[in-house]
Amino acid sequence: MPQQIKRLVTAFAVFILMFLVLQQVLKPNSFGKLGHYRAMAIQENEARELHYAGSARCTKCHDEMHTDKAAGFHAQLQCEVCHGPGLKHVLYADKFKDGKLPDSLKLHKPDTRKECAICHQLNAARIKIVFDTVNNSMIKQVNALKHNLVDKHTKEELKCIECHNPHQP
């Protein structure tokens, strides 16, 4: 074999061999077990932190709210829709049964007009929506910027929840 061919073949062989070795060394362990990906990635995705607890956990302690709510229009609303993610709150309460909840773990109590308006502000796309097919009732729509804005007697700004109990609107 001519000299230059010998050298070239050696160089290429070394290169390819190095590549194959590196490939074996660098390839992640669980790669290819289920498909062309790291099977471990599924577990890693599953292991992420939760924030929403689910309303089943809420009713464990706040039973009265639940019964309150069940009678009204907001019956099918999950607690965390308005109060925000509550897993930390629940976990703390589970751990220290009688302990006082630190302020940072207290859940949000929405009381502004803006927060009610998120669902109830008049909107052409909302007007015909039937949400409760059993009672065939529509979602109540108001113009939150005008509807009973001020108390007639005291002339002070009114909040929605001063007239409507959010758990039994």
């Binding site: 000299q3 230059q4 070239l8 290819g32």
Partner: protein
């Protein structure tokens, strides 16, 4: 990061119509414009070199070595814009370790490696091996060591061995032409295969990319050749330059026809995406598409080169015209890549609106970074010309004049 978010708020205020919220940010920026641009220059320069070799076009001889070394210099940085734009650049090796076979980008890694290792390096090696052995004997120190390493410590320069080099080099060239086509056609496929994007998704994309690549590569070699003879204070080989210019003319016509065909097809079929693309072309893409790519990059070079086919002014004037035309074409093809890459992201996939492109001077995706990847190949080229000067090569054909 903070700057990036601020930029996005600015872009948000300039959105026209509706774009999906995740589309406000342009994902592929100037670096991805450079990537097909640089790969195209490689493929084009190589194809010009191969013309000489395969079809025995001796008139192109003065540019053969320059074209090969130019191709190599750009090839060495071709993947750098791609890698430097990654969110996780240090994971880039995964493309080679676990390539996903259905992904055009993963296969590109192998196409690139094949082209670099098997085609370009081998062809240059066979072409220069004998000279490197000779030069290793004539030089000292580091340069001598470099020649030794690069020639893989071979010593055989018997006529038989040199003849073998020539023969093998020829075979590599023959393999190289389809490989160069593959390389750049493949870059086109990376865009052409995205069915979500109607501006990219066309079967003609690989072919258009290929022909624009050849155009840009030839223009680059022409430019390098003109500048190099100027620097070396030699008289230029006008026959060679005229020949390159006529090739440039014919391939530019083909490129123009293909791109025209693509647009005509688009206009005639007028699919769901037609309106949004129509407004894009006449709105946010007007300057780069019609002025930079169309007028300066295509029409003016076409008319000039076309005229020169019939009417030949004095050599000095022709040289000046070629210089200007090659620069115009290089700029034009850059904007062709720009219009594909950036243009394809300016409209929403909802077809209801447009976002804008904002680019900073600094940062990993800024103009400076892009400028670096355009300058580095020329530094590599200067180094290669110093190390492997084509004009100092030993020639077998005494009747062929080498500048």
């Amino acid at each position: 990061m903070v700057q990036h978010i601020q930029d996005l708020y600015e872009v948000l205020s300039k959105v026209d119509g509706y774009v999906y919220p995740n589309e406000i940010e342009l994902n592929w920026s100037i670096l991805i414009v450079l990537y097909p641009y640089i790969t195209g220059l490689v493929a084009g320069a190589f194809i010009l070199a191969s013309l000489e070799r395969i079809f025995n076009l001796h008139v192109l001889r003065p540019t053969y070595g320059i074209a090969l070394l130019t191709a190599l210099s750009f090839m060495l940085v071709a993947t750098m814009p791609l890698i430097s734009h990654l969110g996780k650049p240090f994971r880039a090796y995964e493309i080679m370790i676990t390539p996903h076979l259905t992904s055009a980008m993963a296969i590109f890694g192998f196409v690139y490696l094949w082209y670099l290792m098997v085609v370009l390096l081998l062809e240059i090696w066979f072409d220069y091996r004998r000279d490197m052995v000779v030069w290793a004997g004539e030089t000292k120190g580091l340069k001598r060591f470099l020649y030794k390493v690069l020639s893989l410590w071979t010593t055989d320069i018997s006529p038989k061995a040199v003849a073998l080099d020539k023969k093998l080099g020829y075979i590599v060239t023959v393999i190289g032409v389809p490989s160069a086509f593959l390389l750049h056609g493949y870059v086109g496929f990376i865009f052409g295969s995205i069915k979500a994007n109607p501006w990219w998704s066309t079967v003609l994309m690989p072919v258009i990319f290929l022909f624009s690549a050849i155009v840009s590569g030839i223009a680059l070699v022409m430019l390098v050749y003109i500048v190099l003879t100027r620097i070396r204070k030699l008289s230029i080989d006008m026959a060679c330059l005229d020949m390159i210019a006529s090739y440039l003319f014919y391939i530019l016509i083909m490129d123009f026809v293909l791109e025209g065909l693509d647009q005509i097809h688009r206009i005639y079929e007028a699919e769901e995406s037609f309106e949004v693309l129509h407004n894009l072309v006449f709105g946010r893409l007007f300057f780069t598409l019609f002025i930079m790519q169309g007028l300066f990059g295509t029409v003016i070079p076409l008319l000039t080169l076309g005229t020169l086919q019939f009417y030949k002014p004095k050599a000095l004037i022709r040289k000046g015209i070629y210089l200007v035309v090659s620069v115009l074409i290089l700029v034009g093809i850059f904007f062709m890549r720009w219009n594909v890459v950036i243009g394809g992201q300016l409209f929403s996939k909802s077809f209801y609106g447009y976002t804008t492109f904002k680019i900073g001077l600094i940062g990993t995706e800024g103009y400076l970074m892009a400028a670096v990847w355009l300058i580095v190949p020329f530094l590599i080229l200067s180094f290669l010309l110093w190390l492997l000067p084509p004009w100092k090569k030993h020639e077998d054909d005494p009747d062929v004049q080498v500048n």
